[in-house]
Symmetry: C2
Subunit: 203 residues, 2 copies
């Protein structure tokens, strides 16, 4: 397996951590977003909408979208389980992975794209919308703080793909000066320490 | 089962069509977004972030997020299959469902929220960002037009959850004057006619 990724982007990191948790070996090709390598004609043959990551199988088949890749890896490598072991747990993990994705990672990405100098001249930016997303994120941090007072991991009593998504979201906030304040969000901070201390967080 | 929904919102419609395809019986409670019923203390006990749809099981358990609900329904009611029958088809369906969601439904929703008078005074709007999303959507329509020249359905040779997501996205564009132009996008228009003609599209 070959993973097209950028070491600095949050979605490829989700897949790298997932693969590390599974202990699956793979090769990588770096597609530097800073160098616009994702926009080349050659890479667009792998992904017409120029997004990372992309997984290429040994037979040349292409799979896009982080969660499609992770689900496929889970099917081929069931242990350790990261998507749930029965219908109800799978529903809970999916719900919380979606929450982590849509309520943490998406607004964090939208702040970055709309306010960071990195994107100036690369895409059209709307800083006003970035500011709105930053306000939304603050309410979501409050919500996850409340939730994590009740259990050690995002979706329940054990580490799942929802923790990977939330970790990559929170850490990607740094470039936009969005960080957990341990004084006001002790449970979120403790969770972050818990998941960051796993060796796979460095993947 | 009890579905909290708004008949006018695209995400509840995804679940209603899915349940109709499965032939599963359920009750509904309308939570009118226009009347701010999703913001009440009572509804926030079902969903703290005030989003629709929410599924309540007979035993009182709550499940949020359209795709968590649909996956759970698929597990309990495997036929007709809408998420894929083997690992690779499931990966393809997930990939295309994600594409339909993130490249069609999400930008369509962001245009609506940031430009429509409906939201004035309800949320902070950034019309400039809405305009950017409208431009992105035009490129995504072009991409799906190209893809649908090669197969009859979004994810392959048969109807899947990815078609439900794309249908709800396209139809929700109407309120923002985003429509398929059959002259320039004949394959997309033919696909839209194909999926709209299913009785379940009225669910």
């Amino acid at each position: 397996m070959l993973l097209y990724h950028d070491p600095r982007a949050p979605n490829p990191r989700r897949v790298r951590i997932f693969l590390a948790e599974k202990g699956v070996a793979y090769d990588t090709i770096e597609i530097s977003i800073a160098a616009a390598a994702h926009q080349t004609v050659e890479f667009r043959k792998k992904n017409p909408i120029a997004l990372l990551p992309v997984l290429e199988l040994a037979d040349g088949r292409i799979l896009r979208e982080s969660m499609a890749i992770c689900r496929y890896v889970e099917e081929l490598n069931p242990e350790p389980n990261l998507f749930g072991v029965d219908a109800w747990e799978r529903a809970q993990v999916e719900q919380w992975n979606r929450h982590a994705e849509l309520e943490l990672l998406l607004p964090t990405t939208l702040v970055f794209r709309n306010t960071n100098p990195f994107w100036q001249g690369r895409i059209k930016q709307a800083p006003e919308f970035g500011a709105i997303m930053k306000e939304v994120l603050a309410t979501r941090f409050d919500w996850f703080e409340h939730e994590l007072a009740q259990r050690p991991y995002i979706a329940g009593q054990r580490f799942t793909v929802a923790d990977i998504t939330a970790l990559c979201a929170i850490d990607f906030g740094k470039v936009s000066q969005i960080r957990i304040d341990a004084a006001t969000h002790p449970n979120l901070a403790a969770w972050h320490e818990r998941v960051s201390s796993r060796p796979t967080s460095k993947a």
